[in-house]
Symmetry: C2
Subunit: 753 residues, 2 copies
């Protein structure tokens, strides 16, 4: 079959060039002095028994990050970014991830720790490997690139009048064969293990640079000399099975071919029943210059390379594959600053790649990545291996460079601990929840990014989560109860809770008629059915009729019904109740600065705004204090300007309202709030039949116990989908990880190992 013609004849170019991708990235945990970390795999990243994303390979210290299959390289990339954030933030303070494929400073062979897991069979397999290859070799890390066709493509195939499974097997085989034939090109360009630490090879390779020690004969290969045939799936499976039978392989998974056919399950035989599902390409070195070990540009180049392996007419024979393996070994051993001995073949192939990209209509970034490669053929110092050598020499040593880079990558993950990189466009609460889910090893599928819609799976239990805490654990009606403030109040009042008095209006005229009854009272005007505090006006002093009318106009913009409630004196606290417990109590203070006897208000604001928790437009847990008209007016009322110097300890407010979104401070008071109020919030949640809610109580004295005769609180409202990020990173007090509590509610049985 001619693939190119087949694709073109059936107009499959678009779906053919999509693809499904995954990356597995290994890296050694390393101490600050560059030595292999001999500590245990962090407990906080969940149990390796089920963790889909964060695993260990041969050694307890060999972290392995595994992205889920994704439908674009961008997706693949962001998953890898996110997993690095999770991994980095769960490392011990004095550990980091080694950025090279070749190991850090290894201890005595005996001291190198094999994985410490419950499954004895897993340990046994590693012990056998250690025996066979030596532990050192097993410590070499790398990148595996998994590729399959997009579901759209297989669906289209299935609609054609052909045996589509056979067709897919054919494509996967051709892909693997040609990849093995031409993989040397990748090693030329992206080989990145030109040096290693003497502890790896007793210093044997010192002073001699090659493109890839890992792809060289002393690298990571099977010990047997026979080849696995890729002539058919049948021959592939039978060869592997017979190697195991004959004892050349301990288990099937020991087969280290640089293109492994993968099915649904782990056993090779499954390929015969269900067909090939994807191919695992294993020859890639970690790129030390990228915090992820592999750039998105590299992925893109590899993708096009794979498409080209299908697009060209050649379908390599087993002998041609042998040649390819040989060329790869030779390339790996070349001096990084010398031209490729296969330059001609390389340039031909690169031109084929450009041709393929054009015929498939791929975007220009693909072609740019090939142009880069062409340049690297002309100037070998542009190859990754050459650059690594230069950087090692510049930094003084392999260890110095690796330590510097690895620690810097870890530091990047700490810069904005409230964000999960890769998913920064999602709401902060969702990012925190995602982080926690990845940490616990819950499978995550972003069903709709804009809509903050996640699918979580663990041990076959599927849970959908929207906006961080809208789940199956709450009922449909509980949402609507909270959305309707009148209904909430009725239900709570019926159960004897203290609510503010008030009336409900359907028109401004209606509400204005009511003015005589409220004209001497402090009141709050608010839309009946909004959340998030929108459209609310507070009159701590009785309103003039004009002000009352304005407040009504604002509220009626949000809703067709408006409540006019009595204003209750006291401080408002947000009680966050999840799964029956008040897990956090927060006080929100209006934007303010405290003087030091020296600086002006403007300077104090500037200084306060430098805090890493303060950002703009909900991209940080706190907002920067503005210096606008409202703040200026507020200062004027206090006979101040932005230029006033405040006395030491003097606190000046810049806003009336306590919203975090206008620069307010979040103060966690969970531990100082009298327990009785927490119980009341929990009871209210129960009465409302809700598992996640933010209950706003006004409590004049939080240290005084609430009693039936002196309740000491008034309930203002119960909020659905209450914000969680503002509790996690607070201006003052202890941060509360409510996203984790939500996950505990959904998956009460998940245990950290």
């Amino acid at each position: 079959m001619n693939v190119k013609n087949f694709i073109k004849e059936n107009n499959l170019e678009h779906v053919f060039s999509k693809g499904s991708f995954g990356i597995e990235k290994e890296g050694l945990r390393t101490k600050l002095d560059g030595k292999l970390a001999l500590t245990k795999h962090p407990k906080t990243v969940g149990s390796r028994q089920h963790h889909p994303y964060i695993q260990t390979d041969f050694s307890e210290s060999q972290l392995e990050l595994v992205t889920p299959p994704t439908l674009s390289l961008k997706e693949q990339h962001r998953w890898l970014v996110a997993l690095h954030d999770v991994a980095h933030r769960n490392l011990l303070e004095d550990e980091f991830i080694w950025p090279f494929s070749m190991p850090n400073i290894l201890p005595d062979e005996d001291t190198i720790p094999i994985i410490d897991v419950e499954d004895k069979k897993e340990i046994h397999y590693r012990e056998k490997l250690a025996e066979k290859y030596g532990k050192r070799k097993q410590m070499i890390s790398g990148i595996h690139f998994n590729f399959s066709f997009a579901p759209d493509f297989t669906e289209k195939l299935s609609q054609l009048n052909i045996d589509h499974r056979e067709k897919l097997d054919f494509l996967f085989l051709k892909l693997s064969r040609n990849f093995i034939r031409y993989q040397w090109l990748i090693t030329y360009l992206y080989g990145a293990s030109p040096v290693c630490h003497p502890s790896f090879d007793n210093g044997e390779s010192q002073g001699v640079y090659t493109r890839s020690i890992r792809n060289s004969p002393i690298g990571y290969h099977n010990t047997f000399s026979d080849r696995v045939s890729y002539a058919s799936v049948q021959s592939y499976v039978e060869d592997i099975e017979s190697f195991v039978k004959e004892g050349q392989l301990i288990e099937e998974r020991e087969y280290y071919g640089s293109a492994r056919l993968r099915g649904k399950g782990k056993a090779a035989r499954g390929l015969l029943n269900e067909g090939v599902k994807y191919v695992e390409f294993r020859s890639f070195d970690n790129n030390p210059f990228d915090s992820l070990g592999f750039t998105i540009e590299q992925s893109q180049f590899v993708h096009l390379f794979l498409l080209t392996m299908l697009w060209i007419e050649q379908n390599s024979t087993d002998d041609e594959m042998d040649l390819g393996m040989k060329k790869n070994e030779l390339t790996a051993g070349e001096n990084p600053f010398e031209p490729s001995q296969f330059k001609e073949e390389g340039l031909l192939l690169l031109n084929e790649m450009i041709e393929t990209a054009k015929e498939l209509g791929l975007d220009s970034s693909y072609i740019r990545s090939v142009e880069e490669a062409i340049a690297a053929f002309e100037e070998p110092e542009r190859t990754l291996a050459a650059q690594v050598v230069k950087a090692v020499e510049k930094e003084g040593s392999y260890m110095a460079l690796g330590s510097k880079l690895g620690q810097a990558y870890k530091q990047e993950s700490y810069e904005k601990p409230f964000l999960l990189r890769g998913f920064e466009q999602m709401e902060m609460s969702t990012q925190l929840l995602l982080f926690d889910a990845l940490q616990l090893g819950i499978e995550v599928d972003v069903l709709d990014e804009q809509d903050q819609f996640l699918k979580l799976t663990h041990d076959k239990q599927v849970e959908y989560v929207k906006n961080g805490n809208m789940t199956s654990k709450d009922t449909y009606i509980s949402h609507w109860i909270m959305a309707n403030k009148t209904v909430t109040k009725k239900i709570l009042a019926d159960e004897g809770y203290t609510i503010p008095g008030g009336e409900e209006f359907v028109s401004i005229e209606n509400a204005l008629d009511h003015y005589p009854l409220i004209k001497d009272k402090a009141i709050v005007v608010k839309p009946k059915s909004t959340n998030y505090g929108i459209g609310i006006s507070i009159f701590k002093n009785p309103p003039k009729e004009e002000g009352y009318r304005e407040a009504l106009e604002i509220a009626f913009k949000e809703d067709s019904e408006v409540l006019v409630e009595e204003f209750i004196e006291g401080t408002e606290y947000r009680f966050f109740v999840v799964n029956g417990r008040t897990e956090a109590v927060l006080l929100r203070e209006p934007a303010n600065v405290v003087g030091d006897g020296e600086r002006t208000v403007a300077e104090l604001i500037k200084a306060k705004n430098t805090h890493p928790y303060r950002g703009e437009k909900h991209r940080a847990p706190l907002e920067k204090i503005q210096m606008g008209q409202i703040e200026s007016l507020m200062l004027k009322e206090q006979n101040r300007t932005f230029e006033s110097v405040l006395e030491k300890g003097e606190k000046v407010f810049l806003r009336e309202n306590s919203n975090i979104s206008t620069g307010g401070d979040s103060v966690d008071v969970t531990d100082s709030m009298h327990e009785s109020y927490k119980r009341i919030a929990e009871e209210m949640a129960e009465v409302l039949g809700v598992n996640v809610t933010g209950i706003d109580l006004i409590v004049p004295d939080m240290t005084k116990e609430s009693t039936p005769t002196e309740p000491g609180y008034t309930v203002i409202e119960a909020n659905f989908n209450p914000a969680m990020h503002m509790h996690a990173y607070v201006h003052k007090g202890k941060g509360r990880r409510l996203t984790r509590k939500v996950l505990d509610m959904l998956y009460p049985t998940i245990q950290l190992s």
Copy 2:
């Protein structure tokens, strides 16, 4: 204490004049020939063991409708209207409710059926009553008017520095004492039992008209001559208890005083512990001219009368109460056309009432009701009793009048069977659900009428329902899954269900770039997150770019994300799944008429629109077909006008879209749809984790079984809060009572007796 001064000094006028109200109304079930119905209480109105609203009193045939306590007379009135609708629509075809207090044609004393309930004690009590009074007297029916103060009033009292329970007891006692003293005024005005059928008294009273047989000595009174003292709650309780002890009362409830003090429980002694909660006023005759037996104007007059009983200085002594009872008896015995012998006292009282209304700032309708009463004192023929006599004479007989009125009232309840009168402003589905709940004897509290928010209670189980089927049985997240069409499709596709192909766009430009890929296809353009079919455009033929752009503009008005899906050929059906079962399948046909060879399109439309199910603006299960521009254009495309005469059997469509709201027909196909599709809809509901949903499937051939290889359907969407009324009253086929299925889901244990 001077009540008037107390109220005024504490500014309580507003809350004092509010009140809490209830009505109990008895009426005999009657056969078309006017004879007492000897059939059983209808099973379809729930079990009398728990029914809060529809009961029987002494006799199996004596229906008793009981409104819940309401905070306004309007509320009270609408509940009574609704309960009448429920009662009427559950009667046998040849039965109706007798509109008079005095009975219909009674059979032999022995044949009159005592209630037939499970509780033997209840039956035993009635047997004792029958023994003591004779069954005939027990068949007299009447109105009980329950009054209490508004919760606002009692709350304000509790905030004053007084013993508020004592104060309330004082008020209730004063109210009762003065009511008994002056009740004759009510009997004068509203006495409405001037005649009775000879079967009641062997014809003894024939030819002699009085104001109220029921209030006369041969009416409904206790047999003992001693009085119950209202000097204090203590004396009231002790007197009743001693009458029971001495055997003058069978049980406490036999006390028939026209003002009975009521506490929380049934035992009089409870009054001492918890105080008086309300007073039950019992001297009112059924008003045969009102379908409810009591007009809202009467209620208003009584309310003001009660307020006046509190407002006046007098606090009647037991002797004065005796005088009042005497006067009531004398008034009851007066000739309806003669002036009252207590006219002077009456007019004084009525003027006090006007004074009271003014001082309390009641609205003018209260004063008008008093002016009516003044007129009735001047012209006795304006009294209810006199009007009844005149109507009886005009109609020929008491029986003729009673039959005519009773049957007409029943008929009114059948005119719009899809509405529940009293609640017509609510959504139709909510009205149907309310009807079913009242029928089953589920307690209903309308928490928010505009928001369609109900609280249901049965046997301590509280359920909140919004919009007829948003309940606690569905999860918060299931709503959002259905609200997001992309997410719905992903989840269903993951489970292998057939969905239309499609793409999602975030901008018009984005979607226009996609035009080349769809330009040869039939497509549907729709907003991602709307329900109820809003903003959708269908192109059964490939769209021109301009039309595509317009459709995008329409869809983007509704949502920031828009789906462009392939259009699937076939007929769309709505599968209504509730609680795991497909309970209804509906086909919606665009507005159409079928010719008869004689009439024009316009005439056919007019005729079709006369069907009682067709109305306007969602106030009926089907909408009237419009004769607007769209219909005119649609006819033009078919070379027709409104004036075209259609051939016999010729069907002409007046709309493209099949919405019921634009005059479409609803056709129930539940029984003809192949079971396999119903199972698929049920499975989809399960996959989406939802208990109530309307799943739209396109099925080209509904008689052909769906199989894994030939599914025979495509799922278009799953709707949250699917309409229920359109299934209940259909253009063709069998109506499906889905509201009842929702209640069965919420309360699976409710058994009809």
